[in-house]
Amino acid sequence: MSKTTKKKTTKRKTSKKKWTRVDGRKPDELRPIHIESGVIPNADGSAYIEMGRNKIIAGVYGPREMHPKRFSKPNMGILRCRYHMAPFSVDPRRSPAPSRRDKEISMVMTDAIEPALFLERYPRSVIDVFVEIIEADGGTRCASINAAAVALADAGIPMKDLVSSCASGKYEGNLILDLGDYEDKNGESDVPVAYLPKNDQVTLLQMEGIMTQDETEKCIELAIEGCKQIYEIQKEALKKKYGMVEATEETEEAPEEEEPVEEAEEE
């Protein structure tokens, strides 16, 4: 968290034509993505994603009873995401204890995914989404959200929509999509985005670096385009397993809100 400044100041190239990305991709090209669902037999739902060299596994448990009970809500369920990096996922090895970064990412991931769920259907319950980063290659939080969304669908949890996530950023003066590790560490900025395609809503948005207002807005738009491509890959992954595209389709009307019949338990 507290290392020295990560982003290099812009060194704008004069001739843009010759510029290519370190891995040869076009500016708006995603890294190869592979998603597989149902990879953890014990979990209610799960998914494995490779996005570039990221290797990430997500497992869903729930809806289930919340422990300790005093943290449950009487009129709705709680979504709890946990982002965690394996000690060997980065170089040098990191401690297995959750870092402050892990905790913050867990929070923004939860915010990114929650709008896709019908939590009001699960009073007093919790849905746990556990994400383990087996190998990290830039953009782990986005890849984690992509895996988590597929894992939730795999768990049969009704969703308003899948959540798709992708970063954009600026590198050597160019706006690019889906930064790899090297671009992430040496570029001018990084803009992770999560997106609900059906609602056209951004549910994760962070940014770090130095960019003009205009560049920032272009980056967000670029990331949204990336999310739309990922959305198709996610659906494909679910289709492969369940033989249907619209597995997660559901009415978006929230059920009528009622007064909760019981009060929250005090503890």
Binding site: T4, R101, M107, V108, T203, E208
Partner: protein, 267 residues
């Protein structure tokens, strides 16, 4: 009545008032509360600022000391931003390790400073790979009535701007001595965070505690003195449309200049 119903009634009331373009306390939607910043009020800290934003009250202390560099940057100083939710500040805050929200507060303020490359850390080495200067920025909340990120961001900027950094001398034998000389810490940028909250269909700035409780989401945007963006952080279990995001960025750009004038008054 359960807390649940109370908060639902509270929400309705606030949303209704905000929808009319006003606030419970009579402010405009995009109006900050009174902001007072006092700098250099602590003798034992190299830099300090006391911030009162309405009833929100925070103290920021900047301490400079000696520590170890990170392995991969043997000659660079280290900056640490830490936030403390003291139990005096709110009836629900308890003594103990920082809650998740305090971690996020520290990280969002930190990210703004770091992304703007506010301090040239490469100048703060002492003995390569062994000792470097440490800059600790402690955000200390004494009364909590909403909008901690903006208050702490302004306090951190004010405290850093007025920090008197000691001069260190390294002898040939490798002994480090703090001289009596100090000089103003050189800042390369003036990043400041502005948080925009979404309540119903409205966007407001500088939320009180009650407004934060009922808000749908928030976007914090850190803007430097040239109008460049350094950091964005979206929170809350809702999505934002691209259009809403652009509005937030516009508001933040405008407001950051206004607040920055107050934060830099002590310079």
């Amino acid at each position: 009545m359960s807390n649940n119903i109370v908060s639902r009634l509270k929400r309705k009331k606030i949303v209704d008032v905000v929808a009319t373009g006003k606030r419970m306390d009579g402010r405009e939607l995009l109006q900050y509360r009174d902001l007072e910043i006092k700098t250099n009020f602590l003798a034992k800290s190299e830099g300090s600022a006391e911030v009162k934003l309405g009833k929100t009250h925070v103290v920021v202390g900047v301490k400079i000391g000696i520590g170890h560099p990170f392995e991969d940057t043997p000659d660079a100083g280290v900056m640490m931003v830490n936030a403390e939710y003291t139990p005096v500040a709110h009836p629900t805050w308890e003594p103990g390790p920082p809650p998740k929200d305090a971690i996020e507060l520290a990280r969002v303020v930190d990210r703004g400073l770091r992304a703007a490359e506010i301090i040239d850390m490469s100048k703060l080495g002492l003995i390569s790979g062994v000792k470097v200067q440490m800059i600790f920025v402690d955000l200390y909340v004494l009364n909590y009535d909403g909008n901690l990120i903006d208050a702490c961001s302004a306090g951190a900027l004010a405290a850093l701007t007025t920090t008197e950094a000691p001069e260190y001398k390294v002898s040939k034998k490798g002994e480090i001595k703090k001289t009596d000389k100090t000089e103003k810490l050189k800042l390369r940028a003036h990043p400041l965070a502005v948080t925009v909250c979404k309540i119903g269909d409205s966007l407001i700035v500088d939320p009180t505690y009650d407004e934060e409780e009922v808000k749908d989401g928030r976007i914090t945007i850190t803007v430097d003195e040239n109008g460049n963006l350094n950091a964005i952080q979206k929170r809350g279990p809702v999505g934002f449309t691209l259009d809403e995001i652009k509005k937030c960025i516009n508001i933040a750009s405008e407001k950051s200049a206004e607040i920055k004038a107050i934060a830099l008054a002590g310079e």
